[in-house]
Every structure is written in C-alpha cells, then in structure tokens.
C-alpha cells in the first residue's frame, strides 16, 4: 500500500497514458500518406491504420538524418538511439509487410503472418516500456524531493556495536584492492559446455565431391549414410551449399521436407577449388 493517497493519481496504466505528442520540437515525418510527428506514425502503424508498406522508410530515414544534422553535434542522443530502435522495427515490419500474403494455404505463409504479428508485438512491447518509463521518471523525481530521516548514530550507541574483528594484513588488503578495482570482464557466453569436435567443411566437401562425381546423382540421405555425428551431417550439408555456390552441383526437392536429390553439374572442376571452399567458415 502506498502511504499517501496522491499516489493513486500518478499511477496511470501505461496503455492509455500515451501522451507522446512533442510536436513542438520533436521529429516530424512528411510523406505522401502521412504528415506528423514520428511517435504518431508509430501509433498509427501499431493500430493497423496505416499500412507499413505505404511508408517509404528511406525517406523517413533521410528526413531524420536531416533533422539530426539540424540539431548539431550536441543533438539528442536519446532521440537518435530511439530512432534506430524504431527504424529497425519498421524495417522488420516492412519486410514482413512486403512479402506476398495470399490465402492461408501453407505453413510458410502462416509463419510469415506470425512473424508479422510478432513484429507488431515487439513494437507494442517497446512502446509499453517507453511509456511506463515516464511513470518511473515521475516517481523518481517526486521521491528525490522527499527527506527521510538519516542521521548518524550517536556516539553512545555506536560504541554499543561489538568490537571489530580485523584479520587482514596489509598485503591481504592490497590484494583485495586489486580485486576490487579490476574492471569486471564483460560477460561472454561460455562455450565450455559445448564439446562437439570441430569438423572441417573442406574435408567433408572432398568426400561429397568424391561420392557425387562417382555416382553422378545421389540423395542427401545417401550422402550421409552411415554418419552418426550430427556435426558431420551439418558440415556435409554446408559443404553442399558451398559447392552449389561454385556451381559444382544442383539440387532438386519435389516437395517440402521431401527427398533432396543432388546432381554433379561441374563442367570444370579442379582440386584447387577445394582449397578455398568454405573459407567463410574459417576464422
């Protein structure tokens, strides 16, 4: 329970708060389909009232960059970073929006629509946090002005505390200082839990080339027959993609998730091609 009744007024649900109209100095977008502050654009898109495909993102970007230039070097970093968030989301949405969306015939388009919804959800989520952050700002500001009793303890009570037991030598203390002042490492994703041995794509490609040139045509299933390690299967598949890039083979798949058939199509192939193959995967 908040002790003061005024709190009730200030806790407004984020959903209907939405007072984002800083039209006076905020960034405005001027497009054939829309003219107004950026926040409103987002608002409309999130409410499906404006089709994202109608918005020329490059134009919005151009205008924003012009706006930033006008602001000068001491411009608002917050606003710039916020724009990046929004632009990235718009771009995602636009990609989803431009993709064909006929009737819901196959799993693929369902997935696309889901992705689109997900992006809307993402935008809404970001907006929710952005809006509620103003509640945080208000509360923090209000409490900044409050004064809690915080007065040093009287000497007579201080001496009531049990005597300090000190066990550190000067060297221990110095060691502690080193620990305390060493910047904490930025967290990295530990890989220790991964034990898979490294598999060379180049080696697997050599095997694929040998098998495929011999047979002319093979299914992927046949190509990996007898292989138990998932890593080798993956590497063999990646090597096929690489060989495809070199136009060394073609593949054919009659239905989704159906049999994948590979055909050797290279007219000229030298072992030298193998030496550079899969270089993208090298570090």
């Amino acid at each position: 329970m908040a002790p003061s009744p005024e709190d009730a007024d200030t806790i407004t649900p984020a959903g209907d708060a939405a007072p984002p109209v800083e039209t006076a100095d905020g960034f405005r977008v001027s497009l054939p389909v829309f003219d107004g502050p950026f926040d409103l654009l987002l608002n409309l898109i999130s409410q499906h009232e404006l089709d994202i495909t109608e918005v020329a993102l490059s134009r919005v970007t151009d205008e924003f960059i012009a706006y930033l230039r006008a602001l000068g070097p001491e411009g608002d970093l917050d606003e710039a970073s916020e724009f990046l968030v929004v632009a990235a989301t718009l771009l995602d949405m636009k990609v989803a929006g431009l993709l064909p969306q006929g009737e819901l015939v196959d799993a693929e388009s369902v997935a696309l629509l889901e992705a689109r919804d997900l992006l809307f959800a993402r935008l809404l989520q970001y907006r929710a946090f952005k809006e509620v952050s103003s509640w945080f700002a208000r509360c923090l500001q209000r409490e900044d002005r409050r004064h809690a009793r915080s007065v040093r303890l009287d000497e007579k009570y201080r001496s009531a505390a049990p005597e300090l037991r000190w066990t550190l030598s000067a060297d221990d203390f110095a060691a502690l200082a080193v620990v305390a002042m060493t910047p904490t490492e930025p967290p990295t994703v530990g890989l220790d839990h991964l034990h898979a041995p490294l598999v060379s794509i180049r080696e697997q490609a050599a095997i694929v080339v040998t098998l495929l040139r011999g047979a002319g045509s093979l299914s992927f299933r046949e190509l990996i027959a007898g292989v138990a390690q998932p890593g080798v299967v993956v590497a063999r598949f990646l090597s096929i993609l690489e060989l495809y890039r070199h136009a060394a083979l073609s593949f054919e798949q009659l239905e989704p998730l159906g049999e994948l058939t590979l055909r050797w199509t290279a007219e000229r192939w030298s072992e030298e091609n193998l030496a550079t193959l899969g270089a993208d995967y090298d570090r």
Binding site: A14, R122, L124, Q125, V132, S133, F136, H147, A148, P187
Partner: protein
C-alpha cells in the same frame, strides 16, 4: 518502562492492549536511529514484541503523526516504502527542508536509463542481452549506471552461459516511493503477447 503505561496511552487508548502504547514509544526510539526502512519483523525483534502488536502500534503511530488521534498533524510522517517503515519529513515541508539542507539532487537518469530500468523491473530476472533485444540497442553502460546507483543488482549468473541476470533492488522501491513491485503500473496485457515471442528470439 512500566511507568509508560500510566502516562502515554492517550493516542491508542481506544481498545488497544495495555502494552501497545509502550511498544509505540519503543518504536519511536528505534525509528529515530534507523537509516533504512525497517520491516515489521525487524521492528518486532527490536522492540521485543509480537509482529501483530507491532503492526497495530505502527498503524497507531501513522494515525498519531497524521493528527487523527487528537494531537497535531506532525511535521514528519511514518511511511511504508521499500518493504519497511521509516520516518519522513511530511511532503508539504519538503521545500523548507530542501532549502535548509541544500542537498544536491542526484543527477537525473537519461531516457535510455529509465527505459532500461523499466524493462528490468518488469522482466526480472533478465540478462543484458535480453534487455538489449527489447530496446534494440546496447545497454551495457546504462546497466552500469543503474548498478552504481544501486537501483538494480546482479541476481544470479547462469552456470552454463555465464550470463548475469539482473533484478531491481529495495532501494529502487524506496526511490520510487512504493512498497513493492506489485505497485508498478500494470502493462501485462501488452507484455504477455510480445514477451513470449521474444524469449525465442533472444536465444537466437
């Protein structure tokens, strides 16, 4: 201390048990020296009384200082913030006190810090990566600022990934002037949908 009960049961005389007044007096003594909000349990231990009696005494003091028991409305009040009780200057006198102590207010948090704080508050425990994916920007320096302000803390480190999970502190509640995370404005309808999808994305 027995003589207390003779003289000071005026404000809580309405049906309170005999010892209640003296619990209130001991609470006043403790509240004068504490530097952080004290939970009822901690107060009960300090004054050597059952929690229920302490709760009643605390409520009595709140009403007492608010001038609802016949006395004046004090220049201070007893507030519950951050899960505990603490004496505060009554809000209407804050200006007088500010002028007197002339303390510099801590610098305002940036908009980026506020938004990051909001994400952590609602999604805790949460990693930096997860926060970054919601805000779509790098949040490392902002998280560091929030840590040094004591508004968030490291809750645990994932044994497998080494990712640190962050949560908010009681100090945040105190700074917001609220008593628990339940008092945050509700934004769950939005989050329930979006969040689930994102968890998957974070893994990617």
């Amino acid at each position: 201390m027995t003589d207390d009960t003779l003289t000071d049961d005026a404000p809580t005389s309405d049906g309170a048990p005999a010892g209640a007044a003296s619990i209130a007096r001991r609470l006043e003594a403790i509240l004068l020296v504490v530097e952080e909000p004290q939970s009822l349990v901690s107060l009960a231990a300090a004054v050597g009384a059952p929690v229920a009696a302490v709760r009643q005494a605390v409520e009595g003091l709140v009403a007492d200082y608010d001038g609802e028991t016949g006395g004046p409305r004090r220049g201070f009040e007893l507030r519950e913030v951050g899960g505990g009780w603490r004496l505060y200057v009554r809000e209407e006198h804050d200006d007088v006190v500010s002028e007197f102590v002339n303390t510099q207010a801590p610098s305002r948090l940036s908009q980026a810090a506020l938004e990051t704080l909001a994400v952590i508050a609602y999604k805790q425990p949460v990693t930096r990566g997860q926060v970054a994916s919601i805000r779509a920007v790098n949040v490392d320096s902002v998280v560091r600022t929030l840590l040094s302000r004591g508004l968030i803390t490291e809750v645990f480190t994932d044994a497998d990934t080494g990712a640190i999970h962050y949560g908010t502190t009681d100090a945040l509640l105190v700074n917001l002037g609220i008593n628990s995370l339940d008092e945050l404005p509700r934004i769950s309808p939005l989050l329930d949908d979006g969040a689930d999808g994102f968890e998957g994305e974070v893994v990617r």
